[in-house]
């Protein structure tokens, strides 16, 4: 591993220790007096109805799916951006085609109502 990643590793260790330490402290200092009422889900004081693990709208799936696709686009854009000055117009045309094709997908999703929330 290149040496410049060592500090990152160290910082990760420190952050984990900090977070765990905080939780540990609270479990040491905090009181423990559970009651059934306290442990039931909070629904503005009303008794909970049904289970929380209900299905939610497929819209969330569509958003995450589009996110993946455009995330890939970003992944391709970054190396493109750093060598853009060498590629010049040629690179621009390549990327424009790429972006346009993906935008067709975005437009399709848009048209199909995948971006609407009622």
């Amino acid at each position: 591993m290149p040496i410049e990643y060592l500090p990152i590793l160290a910082l990760i260790v420190l952050a984990v220790l900090f977070a765990l330490g905080t939780l540990l402290m609270s479990s040491i200092f905090g009181p423990k007096r559970p009651t059934p009422e306290k442990l039931s889900p909070y629904e503005c004081g009303i008794t909970p109805v049904g289970t929380a693990r209900e299905r939610f709208s497929v819209k969330f799936y569509l958003i995450a799916m589009l996110f993946i696709v455009f995330d890939i686009e970003i992944v391709f854009l970054y190396p493109w951006a750093v060598v853009f000055r060498q590629l010049r117009l040629f690179g621009l045309i390549e990327m424009a085609i790429f972006i346009l094709i993906l935008c067709i997908g975005l437009c399709y999703a848009w048209k199909k109502g995948g971006l609407e929330w009622e």
Partner: protein, 326 residues
């Protein structure tokens, strides 16, 4: 090697401490500023002008009961705040906050580390932050927290896209993913002048990414009680809170680095410039919260996908066109 490790550890300790301090006092700062804007005083009781308020808050949370809901998935419930806070704390590793100083005859770089994929590191870490929210919402076994978590994560990933795209223009000009190189590329002119549209998109996305007003919908108290962390209490809640504020600091520092010339500036020492810019940006955050009303959720998602995403793509192509033509 030994020396390297010592210097490294010192730097990490200083940055980590400074970050925590900043985050703690950010809560105080926010309440004070909003108080001023609303012609109130804000916290006044603990210490001079409430200066000890964050410490008091922290201690209070530490001694609160840690409730785990009955139907909750205990392991994930415990894991979620950890997953939220750790990424928030480590992205500072690659942000440069000054050029170099000479201490005891040694030249010390004022950043924890400089990697050649710096900006990608930050995005990679940031993309993990969403798990904290999803897991918290799911494990709580509460309708409100699940809905809040889904909304919040959908919002985060939506705006993460535009955020990633908004800085491509900067990368095209800097020709590097290393944040140090990006800062150095701004020695003549800050990228905010060359990439105004990119900066604007970044700003909007930064606010949305940190779930702040006017994009604080996922945790809109009036609609969803408190969003994904409704069931959390005690220090676990504090960790979510810390993570949110740490993220504010991170996006501000990133904005400073990418668009505002980083540590560079006349007269004042570099670190001072860096802090000045970061705090100016943070102030903007607080100001926005005090001024703007909240978006509706459909507006918010629509805005992200139908406006920001196309505009940021267009920004990239226009930037490319201008650069290729010159």
């Amino acid at each position: 090697m030994f020396e390297f490790i010592i210097i490294m550890l010192v730097k990490i300790a200083v940055v980590f401490g400074a970050l925590l301090l900043t985050v703690a006092y950010l809560t105080w700062l926010e309440r004070k500023v909003i108080g001023d804007i609303q012609v109130r005083l804000g916290p006044m009781r603990v210490g001079y002008h409430g200066l000890l308020q964050p410490i008091a808050d922290g201690l209070k949370l530490l001694f609160k009961e840690d409730i785990i809901p009955a139907e909750a998935d205990r392991t994930v419930y415990l894991l979620a705040p950890l997953v939220a806070i750790i990424p928030a704390l480590i992205s500072f590793a690659v942000i440069p906050f000054g050029s170099q100083v000479k201490i005891l005859g040694r030249t010390i770089d004022l950043y924890i580390t400089d990697v050649n994929i710096g900006i990608l590191f930050i995005f990679a870490v940031a993309s993990l932050g969403v798990y904290g929210i999803v897991l918290a919402g799911w494990s709580s076994n509460n309708k409100y927290s699940l809905l809040g978590a889904m909304r919040s994560s959908a919002q985060m990933i939506s705006y993460e896209l535009s955020m990633g795209l908004s800085i491509v223009g900067v990368l095209m000009m800097a020709q590097s993913l290393s944040l140090v190189q990006i800062v150095k590329a701004q020695s003549v002119v800050w990228f905010i002048l060359l990439q105004p549209v990119g900066f604007l998109i970044y700003l909007i996305c930064a606010v949305a990414e940190t779930n702040r007003a006017p994009f604080d919908l996922p945790e809109a108290e009036t609609e969803l009680v408190a969003g994904f962390h409704v069931e959390y209490s005690s220090m676990k809640f504090a960790l979510f809170f810390l993570a949110e504020y740490a993220n504010i600091v991170t996006v501000s520092a990133l904005a400073t680095t990418l668009f505002l010339g980083g540590w560079q500036g006349p007269l004042l020492p570099p670190v001072a410039w860096f802090l000045l810019k970061v705090f100016a940006f943070i102030f903007l955050f607080v100001w926005l919260r005090a001024t703007l009303p909240r978006f509706r959720y459909d507006q918010l998602m629509g805005f992200g996908w139908k406006v920001l995403l196309p505009v940021s793509l267009a920004n990239i192509l226009v930037t490319g066109l201008i650069m290729a033509w010159r």
